[in-house]
Amino acid sequence: MSAAPKGFPLPSSIKVVPGTESAQAAYPYYTQFVPEDDGKFWFYNSMHFPEPMHHFDMITAEAAYVAMGAFNTRVHVLPTAKGVDHRIINGRVYIGGVVVTDPDEIAERVAEFQTRAFWYYEHWEDLYEQWKDKMRALIAEAQALPSPSLPDYEPLATFKEGNAVAASHDLLKIYQQQVEGYHRMWHHHFEFLLLGYGAYMTFFDFCKKAFPEISDQAISRMVAGMEAEIFRPDEEVKRLARRAVELGVDHHFTDNVDIDAVLADLDKVGVGKDWLAELEVSRNPWFNVSSGDGFYHYHRSWQDDLSMPFAALPGYIDKIKAGANIERPTAQLIEEREALVADYRELLDTDEDKATYDQLITLAHRVFPYVEGHKFYCEHWYTNLFFNKIREFGRLLLAHDFFGPDGIEEDIFHLTQYEVESAIVDLMLSWGVGSPPRGPAYWPPIVAQRKAAIIEWGKHPTPPALGDVPDAIDDPAINMLWGITRENLDSWLDDGTGDPNELKGFAACSGVVEGIARVVKSVSDIHRIQQGDILVCQVTNPTWSPLFQKISAAVSDIGGSMSHMAIVAREYGLPAVVGTGVATTRIKDGQRIRVDGGKGTVSILEDA
């Protein structure tokens, strides 16, 4: 802790990693840093984009910031904050808030915002029901989109109808509709989000004033919803475990099985088929959950990769056979939550405060189902459909040699969304004109270059922020969504000067545990987790919750005390520290570590 003020490097001082210049240049022009950007403060959005970005995956940042900006600036008209600018360098997404400082403009916006926000708060339940209908319709639209394909000749059936639109046109139509749907999903995503967080933050602030030493966890527990969709996938795995025992097929489920072989074996016998039917019930829609946060194409869903539910089944089956109750005790959780709310209320000194407390907790409980529930529809279900549709285009382009003889369908994600459209047009032209497409010669070297760039960028750490630190971060959107405050920034600046064996994060669930660290970077690593290990991962979300029965504590790089991981950890009573920033890079697999979930610290005790 030196007295001299420290700052973050200026954007202009960050050099593109040598050899990756063309991969960097391929990102859209409006996402490249320019000299004027040195005058602004930026932070690395490691919460949403912890890995270097595949070029196609930038659509998630783009669509989200288009929608978030529109809602903040022009739909809800937030008084002091507009949207966020985003830039990308070396595959890392930096964002910077746009705040309103002119008092006259703020006053004008306050009036607008008040009318709009009050309308939403007053009609919250109805609008949220309507929102779910909209999301289900949007999902159904995406599911109804056909797989892109090119017949040799226009089918006679459509020909005779006088369709007069050739099959190639459908490629463009499906692609554009899918991209349009993804943008629309992000608009829906932001329809309630800031208002929901705002109501929650208001209660949070009140509690911090009334109870200066209250933990974030305690407030979160008072607000947490009990019926949120996001708990359902785990409940379905438990249900499948129970059915496996009831049907007498539980012996098929052991650690590290070959999932396809198990499914094939089950399909050979009647009771096995019965269980497979149950699996189908669970899969649609509840296995449409991403094993990551849904922001990258390679965050596959349980629907596409059953590793996560299969990793959890043996543990649940053992518990059921041992007579343990694995049901989520909803009634008890609700009772505990209500008791917590009542007990804190009791401590307030004045009737005025009790009245305010009642108002604010009531509002928080009203808005919270959206805050917790929207992710299932947006980041999980829809995003998964979206990336899978793009995969179908990848398959089509691969079939037409666009990725060369060694290519794979996933190579499509090395193209930007605009390049994908151009490749589709190239294919449409070729199909119609009858001459070979140019893509097979053009794309393979580019894909190879970008593949290498992603690997290279992953080796280079990137600064947590760029530019001069502002005196205060009073952008409510940045505070709420990213949890970034002036205090965080100071701690980021201090990073590296402290004990390298001590990591600090948000205290998510209290308790102290020592154990072996299992650093898990993707779903393919989950089979390595042994009973009692401490899970160390970049981001844990509720789709990982089936693993919580196995582990003794959890640590993540990303997330705040309201992150879903924190919520699930509290349900399981597991000590957890989230948002450490560096756990997966600093902690080595197999090391002995101590997690203090009350203090929010992780200590590396000894080497593996």
Binding site: T80, F118, Y121, K209, E213, A218, L347, D349, D474, G598
Partner: protein, 351 residues
């Protein structure tokens, strides 16, 4: 154990806070806790009645109270001479047999196996809670025999005639007729560890947390500030342990074989190990909540853990610093009819 509070001796189980005028604040509080079913080492109070009988016996020989009342509070030399004289009489003059027999047989009943006791003064007036007065009171630890106990009771009584105590009363114009002293005699815990507990935060006044401080050995090392105690902050409602500061506890106070206490060095790993387990912290929290609920206000508690790991309370008194601030406290947030107006403050940057 049917002695009424006007007897020379009153057992904890028979007294409460309402008996403060005869058993003092400390005695009344320990009685109240005992009656509330909270584990307190057993004991009795040498009541103000005992003191009055004793003082009458002294006064029968030569006046005491008129001499104090005649004292000029600014005449330090005179106060010193008087103090020496009066304390010598309190220590040396015979104790009326009805008092001496009562307290000695009470101790025999309390300590059939010769268990040691703590002897502590227990003042009767509200003013006694005042810091300026509290410091003048006495505590004697690990007193082994009934005879020595009786001697320590005299010492507590004698403290009423210290220079500071008499001068304080004269400055505040307190009539000597109302001045009396009760003395608590309590079986003593050979504590594994001990310390204090506040049922609200001493630093922020937060009522939703319990702060526990403790160190190895007897609690006197913590109360006197000779050892930096371990410190924990617990959620009163949530039971989460939100802070743990384990300190280097270089020494502990333990009973001396011949009575009284001695300080011994702590070796590693003891000195840097937490003196309480999480389960013990939870047990303390439960007791703290129970006492707070019983009194209906935040408490400042002294506790000890016996060698078997049982939590025992040695004292509990109302927290005063923050409760005085509460009396003039305003609502956390000005109330409004529409909760959305609070939300506006968040979005408007007016936090």
């Amino acid at each position: 154990m049917t002695d009424s509070p006007m007897s020379p001796v009153a057992w904890f189980a028979d007294v409460g806070i309402k008996d403060r005028p005869t058993v003092g604040g400390k005695g009344g509080s320990l009685g109240e806790l005992t009656q509330a079913g909270i584990a307190v080492p057993p004991g009795f109070v040498v009541t103000t009645a005992a003191f009055e009988v004793f003082l009458s016996a002294l006064e029968a020989k030569e006046a005491i109270r008129p001499l104090v009342e005649a004292l000029d509070p600014d005449d330090h030399a005179a106060a010193t001479v008087l103090s020496e004289k009066l304390r010598a009489r309190v220590m040396g003059d015979p104790m009326p047999p009805e008092v001496e027999t009562a307290i000695i047989s009470a101790m025999r009943q309390l300590c059939p196996e010769g268990q040691p006791v703590a002897v502590r003064s227990s003042a009767t007036t509200e003013d006694a809670d005042d810091a300026s007065f509290a410091g003048l009171q006495d505590t004697f630890l690990w007193v082994l025999t009934p005879e020595d106990m009786a001697h320590k009771v005299r010492e507590c009584w004698g403290s009423l005639y210290s220079v500071e105590s008499m001068t304080y009363r004269r400055k505040h114009g307190l009539p000597e007729a109302g001045v009396a002293m009760a003395v608590v005699v309590q079986q003593m815990v050979d504590a594994l560890c001990a310390g204090v507990m506040f049922t609200r935060s001493p630093t922020t006044g937060d009522k939703s947390v319990i702060t526990i401080e403790g160190a190895w050995g007897l609690g006197s090392s913590v109360v006197s500030g000779e050892v930096t105690p371990d410190k924990w902050v617990l959620g009163k409602i949530t039971a989460e342990i939100s802070a743990r500061d384990i300190s280097d506890k270089h020494a502990r106070q333990v009973p001396a074989e011949s009575g009284g206490i001695i300080e011994v060095e702590n070796e590693e790993p003891m000195r840097s190990s937490p003196c309480l387990t999480d389960d013990q912290l939870m047990a303390l929290r439960d007791v703290g909540r129970k006492v707070e609920r019983h009194y209906g206000k935040a408490q400042d508690i002294e506790w000890a853990l016996d060698k078997a790991g049982n939590v025992l309370l040695l004292q509990s008194r109302p927290e005063t610093v923050w409760s005085q601030k509460d009396a003039v406290a305003k609502p956390v947030t000005a109330p409004v009819a529409n909760p959305m107006a609070h939300v506006m403050n968040i979005f408007g940057g007016r936090r």
